[in-house]
């Protein structure tokens, strides 16, 4: 039950790699916060810096408004669940969960009570005598979470805890984690490279690129209003349409298609400026005929998404993706018209990549 406040954190490794670049972030009390980004973006380094396993080169970290930047890992009262779970192979499950309690000098009865409570919460009471090598990956994950839980930390740090589970188990573990976090109400920070995991679990999340945070917000913000072209192209199970055009006479001209620019955006742009139109394929639907704000072209690919088909058309060299309900899917090579929903269209400055 803690807040985390990160101010201007920079982490430079001895080999000159700058993993975190003057980064600010605020995490609220009891929040499930996800750090998302491609590999090498610095998300794990940020988590390790929070945990005290890496020392920040500059900047400060506040936990509950207390400066812990130079506090050693053991004194921050955080618990971390590692990607490989880091269960000690020579100890059985009970000893594993008990180990942090022993380090913190809890009395025997107190330890037993806490181990019992944590193992009941994660339904692993019947595994207490087993060694980590004798239980399944899903059970190992639960043991690792139980071990983190037993110390009642202020903050949980999860480093890709689901990536070692198979697809089916991952979904189960995901809803389980979410539920557990709700019940405990402990501030939780999750690092993941899987956007569906972040979108499903997080109250709020951040997308990182090259040691910087590119956007912070709720999963809904990310889906509907990506703050820049990088986030727009990173988030979403089907990639967002990002179509470059030029402002001309109050319209954005993309190939032959012209789009009306809403007045509140028109004020901020000048004629001849390059803009990128962003719209999710889910909001690009079939149109009856060509016309204003409509793309017309030959169908190149159709993909079955279950209830819908993803249709890729080539409109005079511009590739545009849209969706149509199943049953209405066109033949490949046919001429097809699709029209973005004007309410859902976003405009980005092509040069800066930022949302206008």
């Amino acid at each position: 039950m803690s807040t985390v406040n990160i101010k201007g954190i920079t982490k430079e490794f001895p080999n000159g790699v700058r993993a975190l670049d003057n980064l600010d972030l605020e995490i609220k009390d009891g929040e499930f916060f996800a750090l998302l980004g491609p590999s090498g973006c610095g998300k794990t380094t940020l988590l390790r810096t929070l945990g005290g396993l890496e020392a920040a080169t500059s900047g400060i970290i506040l936990i509950d408004d207390k400066d812990v930047t130079r506090t050693s890992a053991g004194d921050r009262n955080v618990a971390m669940v590692f990607q490989d779970y880091a269960l000690y192979p020579h100890m059985n499950v009970k000893e594993n969960i008990e180990y942090p309690l022993k380090i913190r000098k809890y009395l025997k009865e107190d330890r037993d009570e806490r181990v019992g409570k944590a193992s009941r919460a994660l339904s692993i009471e019947n595994l207490l005598d087993r060694k980590p090598g004798q239980i399944s990956g899903g059970q190992q994950q639960r043991v690792a979470v139980a071990r983190a839980m037993a110390t009642t930390p202020n903050i949980y740090l999860f480093d890709e805890p689901l990536s070692n589970l198979d697809a089916r188990l991952r979904l189960e573990a995901r809803s389980f984690l979410k539920q557990l976090q709700r019940e405990l109400g402990v501030t939780t920070i999750l690092v993941t490279h899987d956007q569906s995991e972040a979108l499903a679990l997080a109250d709020r999340m951040a997308v990182m690129e090259l040691g910087k945070i590119r956007q912070v917000g709720t999963p809904v913000d990310f889906f509907h209003r990506p703050a820049n072209i990088f986030v727009a192209s990173f988030i979403g199970s089907t990639p967002m349409n990002l179509l470059e055009g030029v402002v001309d006479n109050g319209k954005l001209q993309i190939g032959k298609a012209g789009f009306d620019i809403p007045s509140f955006i028109a004020k901020k742009v000048t004629a001849g400026q390059k803009l990128t139109l962003g719209v999710r394929p889910e909001y690009v639907n079939q149109a009856k005929s060509s016309g204003a704000g409509t793309f017309s072209g030959t169908v190149k690919i159709t993909e079955n998404l279950g209830t819908h088909y993803l249709v890729l058309i080539d409109a005079d060299g511009t590739e545009v993706r849209g969706t149509v309900p199943d049953g209405n899917e066109p033949e490949i090579g046919a001429t097809f018209h699709i029209k973005p929903d004007t309410e859902r269209v976003l405009f980005y400055d092509t040069n800066s990549g930022e949302l206008i």
Partner: protein, 280 residues
């Protein structure tokens, strides 16, 4: 048509008989001396033949008449256990540091250590070692022999132990660190138990190397009462330079048994298996 994937199943019977015969001959070649080692000590009149006539324990009684025979076995044990302990006490921390701390030229350093320790050894090192022992005033002492043998074995021991430590995931130590464990506790509670099979293997290896070492104690030890078994063995000769087979056979068996027992014990307890618990 001959199935190329059938392998041994399709080999003709002559082929199989020939290969079996070859294996038997090779094994016999190695097994016969071992059989002799176990028979001759109990033979009343042992020769170089493989036989057991007039069985009894007379050979051992005759051997025991040499006042230094049993004493030398105890000395060997002191040298070997001492070497094992020194190797673990110095080698394990060194290997841990070399595994965990990255510095420029670390691998080159390790290879040079290993290379020089195997190049400058044996009779080439005899004179310098003797002079060193003289200067340090450790001639004719137990610790002198132990330090010199351990010094020769350390580079290889560090090299092998570093490999063991490398296979220990860093996350074990990091998770303990986040729970608030001190470096000492991490070493005691996590690192040492997990690499214990490696430590046991290295201890036995050092023990056996020291147990079988003839040159160093021969060089350093003057006092007959401090001689180890390997050197003692050398004294079971007549004045004419003829081996006294009765005592050599009995002593040879006693000399072999500890090493054999040790091998079986470690192999049974640790083998070369390693723990699971990390997925990925």
């Amino acid at each position: 048509m001959r199935n190329p994937f059938a392998g041994d199943l399709e080999k003709s019977s002559t082929e199989r008989i020939t290969s079996a015969l070859f294996v038997v001959i090779v094994s016999l070649f190695f097994l016969l001396p071992i059989a002799w080692l176990f028979l001759a000590p109990f033979d009343g009149q042992p020769t170089y033949q493989l036989k057991l006539s007039d069985p009894g324990l007379g050979n051992f009684r005759e051997m025991a008449e040499n006042p230094y025979a049993y004493r030398s076995l105890l000395n060997s044990a002191i040298f070997s256990v001492g070497t094992g302990i020194v190797i673990i006490l110095i080698g394990a921390p060194a290997a841990y540091v070399l595994s965990r701390v990255k510095f420029k030229g670390r691998d080159v350093f390790l290879y040079f250590l290993l290379l020089f320790s195997s190049v400058v050894s044996g009779s080439a090192a005899m004179v310098p070692l003797f002079l060193l022992a003289l200067r340090f005033n450790i001639l004719d002492t137990y610790h002198g022999v132990i330090f010199i043998i351990a010094g020769g074995l350390l580079p290889a021991a560090i090299f092998i132990l570093k490999d063991f430590t490398d296979s220990l995931p860093k996350s074990y130590e990091e998770s303990a660190k986040i729970f608030g464990a001190s470096s000492y506790r991490i070493l005691r509670d996590i690192v040492t138990p997990v690499i214990r099979p490696g430590l046991a293997v290295i201890f036995v290896w050092a023990f056996v190397q020291s147990w079988g070492n003839f040159l160093i104690p021969f060089l350093i030890i003057r006092d007959v009462a401090k001689q180890p078994a390997a050197v003692m063995m050398y004294s079971f000769y007549t004045e004419a330079g003829q081996a006294v087979i009765r005592t050599v056979a009995a002593f040879g068996l006693l000399y072999t048994i500890p090493v054999l027992l040790m091998y079986f014990y470690v192999n049974r307890k640790y083998g070369f298996r390693f723990y699971g618990g990390i997925k990925g």
